[in-house]
Amino acid sequence: MIGIFRGLMVTIATVFKKPVTVQYPDGDPIKIPGKKSTRRVHLPLSPRYMGFPALLWDDRVDEPACTGCLVCMRYCPTECITVTMKDNPLHAEGKSSRRKIVDNFEIRMERCILCAICVEVCNFEAIAMTDFHEEANLSRGGLVATKEDLFRMGRDYQKRAGIVVGSDSAEESEEPEE
């Protein structure tokens, strides 16, 4: 009986407290820099939160870190990645060590299962799992993340997470100059 009253007191005390629910996506919208849309307030994401994959940017040469080698495309279990490759014009000018570079890169978000296998198999650390997750869309076509979307997401994530496309690994895989 005392236990019953204790339980009753707990629930009635909770009634007068503020609910723990975060009214996402009804909270105050926050403007995202460099993007037209706004972002709603939600609980802080965990540091290891795994959202959509995105392409990283090599700031040293100002080009994508991806060489378009198709490994991610071949390993993707849901076949949601499409990649094409082209000759790197910066390599011809001697500015970049990458002979080939990504021409087009698309991820179909509606099929992606966020398994991170593409990140696992990438030889150049050019793709990473970001914390982006608010890519809901009203049309099917809008769910296809183009190269520009992926770079935008990737650079934003790099800035926030402090990821620099690694000098060590990049130099290791650097090909000898002719």
Binding site: G7, L8, V10, T14, P19, V20, T21, Q23
Partner: protein
């Protein structure tokens, strides 16, 4: 009886049924909101301001839903069962006075009528359980039958104490007799009637006939759409009925502070009646937030071993009080003493049954902890 009388009666019945339906909708909203807050959430917020239109959305959803008739059912029992539950739940309101002057028909044997009619709803539960051709429904119907019949005894015998003191079964007289509220005069009866009333309408923690985790909704498993909503309406109407009865029998009904004549009196009577009822309803919801569901054997044991002896004791005490003309405070004290000693006895018995926890040496695990 003239035609105008009949017309007036039909109009008032229609108004009352509309009113009860409104109250049921309000109660569903109130319950969801209150329980949400008690669990640290908001409850409904999406439909209208503060989610106020949630009940209306629920009604639209229920009305547009398909009414499924499962294969191999007993059709007559299956289709009639919602009626058999719904009709008694609404017929009862005919005899409930909301204030001293507002009632469709104030019956001199009102209390008897209420309990006689409310006993009928069990038939509907058993019909639903039998007609559905479903094991869970059958089990739920059997549970409902066992529970409702058991709890009717302490409920009615507990109420008898009140009827004895007020010397009437007329609810208006019972309220008029409550110079001191009967909860003060009869705490034991209040406890018994409140507990048994909760069990009668199958509210938590006595919701074993409808327990989702055990019998998937009990007798209502196979129902959908409008027929299910009839059960639902009856359930909430009955919850409100328990609150109203507790108010009328123990909390002084419409008695309260206010002007004693004219319009103001009526308004104040209605105000006091409904605010007391709402408090009781909130307490019922509150109990639901805190207490886990009983096991069926615990429920039956509570009725037969605890509430029925207590209710008879209350009857005996009230009889002595009336026969020897004891003073008011003595019966309320004795009633309380019986309640407390019963609680003490139960706790002692429980303590003696539970083995004391003993210290056990936990073996220390050597080596690396995995995981």
């Amino acid at each position: 009886m003239t035609w105008s009388d009949v017309g007036w009666l039909i109009l008032s019945v229609a108004i009352f049924i509309g009113f009860i339906n409104f109250v049921v909708l309000a109660l569903t909203y109130l319950e969801r909101k209150f329980i949400g807050r008690a669990q640290g959430r908001y409850g409904p917020t999406r439909t209208g301001p503060f989610g106020l239109f949630q009940p209306i959305a629920d009604v639209i959803k229920l009305m547009s839903k398909e009414d499924v008739l499962p294969a191999r059912t007993d059709k007559a029992a299956f289709w009639l069962a919602p009626m058999a539950v719904f009709v008694p739940a609404f017929v009862i309101w005919v005899s409930i006075p909301f204030t001293r002057d507002i009632a469709i028909r104030n019956l001199e044997m009102g209390l008897l009528f209420i309990f006689a009619v409310s006993g009928l709803s069990i038939v509907g539960m058993i019909m639903a359980g039998w007609g559905s051709f479903n094991k869970y429904a059958m089990l739920g119907g059997a549970r409902a039958a066992a529970q409702l019949i058991s709890y009717e005894i302490p409920l009615i015998i507990g109420v008898l104490g009140v009827a004895m003191i007020s010397q009437s079964l007329d609810l208006r007289v019972i309220v008029a007799e409550q110079g001191t509220w009967f909860i003060i005069l009869q705490p034991l009866a209040f406890f018994v009637v409140f507990t048994a009333g909760l069990a009668e309408v199958g509210r938590a923690p006595f919701d074993i006939p409808f327990a989702e985790s055990e019998v998937v909704g009990g007798p209502f498993v196979e129902y959908s759409g409008m027929h299910w909503s009839m059960f639902f309406l009856a359930e909430y109407a009955n919850t409100f009925l328990v609150a109203v009865l507790i108010t009328l029998l123990f909390l002084g009904g419409w008695r309260g502070i206010g002007p004693a004549t004219g319009w103001g009196e009526d308004v104040m009577m209605a105000f006091w009646f409904f605010s007391k009822t709402m408090v009781v309803v909130l307490v019922i919801f509150w109990i639901r937030t805190a207490l886990p569901r009983f096991r069926i054997d615990q429920v039956m044991a509570l009725a037969w071993k605890f509430l029925i002896p207590l209710s008879f004791l209350n009857l005996l005490l009230t009889g002595f009080y009336l026969f020897y003309g004891w003073s008011d405070w003595s019966i309320s004290l004795m009633s309380l003493a019986v309640l407390l000693s019963a609680y003490y006895a139960v706790m002692r018995r429980r303590r003696s049954q539970i083995p004391r926890p003993t210290m056990v040496k936990v073996p220390v695990r050597r080596g690396r902890v995995l995981g």
